[in-house]
Point group: C3
Chain length 146, copies 3
């Protein structure tokens, strides 16, 4: 039972790959926000606005990126913690690898649909990612209490 967290465990390697990739996606939201702020000349902090000779301004396009980023914060750190817990329960490799891949793809598509304002794509991707998280949490609880 020892040693789920080593690089000879295919489940752990898959988790590392999907986890690192989804965090890189999340980190991209910062530069996308900065790009939208520059494009719409809309900064929230007075020191940022005034350095460009502007007053603080609200932009719906900036807020959209920020809502998308906040949705990431609601789901991706939970995935990273639950994924590691799930790896520790020695799940079926096929099931585990597909949990990780489906989550990664759902969050990339969620960002795409959110920034484009497309429904129901955004809602479906959110639900799929959340269900992966809940599935891993239930599997972990069942293993611990069995």
């Amino acid at each position: 039972m020892a040693g789920a967290f080593n690089l000879e465990n295919e489940v752990f390697k898959s988790f590392l790959a999907c986890g690192a990739a989804v965090v890189i996606k999340m980190q991209c939201m910062g530069p996308i926000t900065s790009f939208q702020r520059a494009k719409h000349k809309a900064w929230t902090n007075p020191e940022d606005a005034r350095a460009r000779g502007k007053e603080p301004k609200y932009s719906e396009d900036v807020e959209r990126v920020r809502r998308c980023h906040l949705n990431d914060l609601e789901n991706i750190p939970a995935f990273l913690a639950l994924g590691a817990m799930y790896v520790a329960t020695n799940p079926s490799p096929t099931a585990a690898i597909w949990h990780f891949r489906v989550f990664l793809v759902s969050r990339i598509l969620h960002t795409f649909f959110y920034l484009k304002g497309k429904q129901p794509g955004r809602a479906i991707c959110y639900i799929v990612g959340a269900l992966v998280n809940v599935s891993m949490a239930i599997h972990t609880l069942c293993t611990v209490f069995s």
Copy 2:
């Protein structure tokens, strides 16, 4: 000292149980937000509002759920990371298991009190959860530097 993260370690099992349960609680905030948006017909994204023949609208009841969710994001991912670090330091089992249980109960009650607008229950639960986090962080630092 090797192998804190295996299922024969009672401390790790308790962490898995409380950690998975508190993430399930956090994931419930998404559906609760959706429910409040539908109840008050208050959507922020134009594509969501217009699909129901409405304009984007602000609702204090929706914002309350979102503030509660944000408070979760400020405390629960920190707990998940600190809890795993704390498990790695081989703490006293009794102390560790009570840290995890108290955190779980404090966050469930925090949500209940926040959504009902009850003080000082909400503040007390927030402080208890934050103190659990700080206690685990200090224990980890003391172990590393001893």
Copy 3:
């Protein structure tokens, strides 16, 4: 390859120290927010404002702390997850320890510069922290796919 997560591994010990310290820094944002709310008599929740005989009020100084805290949430949980993944890939100890130290210092200075409204210090610290995260993510991906 087994056993990266034990206290005889200097890389893991450094991660525990920097990770616990940066979470303590993040947890301080809650009390700083409360202090600014009390100083400016600006509470968002009606039950908090009315308990002091006030109406809910907006304060730019409170919002500044909250934006700084949100920036922490966008970067610190990602660091905690990526740092643990990176430790699992058995990186060069010197490189790893400096990744962790640079991140910790960059986030402490980021908070200082954000609360003082100082640019370009804030932007530089944000970028340094984000680059540490991306560097650890790329290292993890390279190890997994090599």
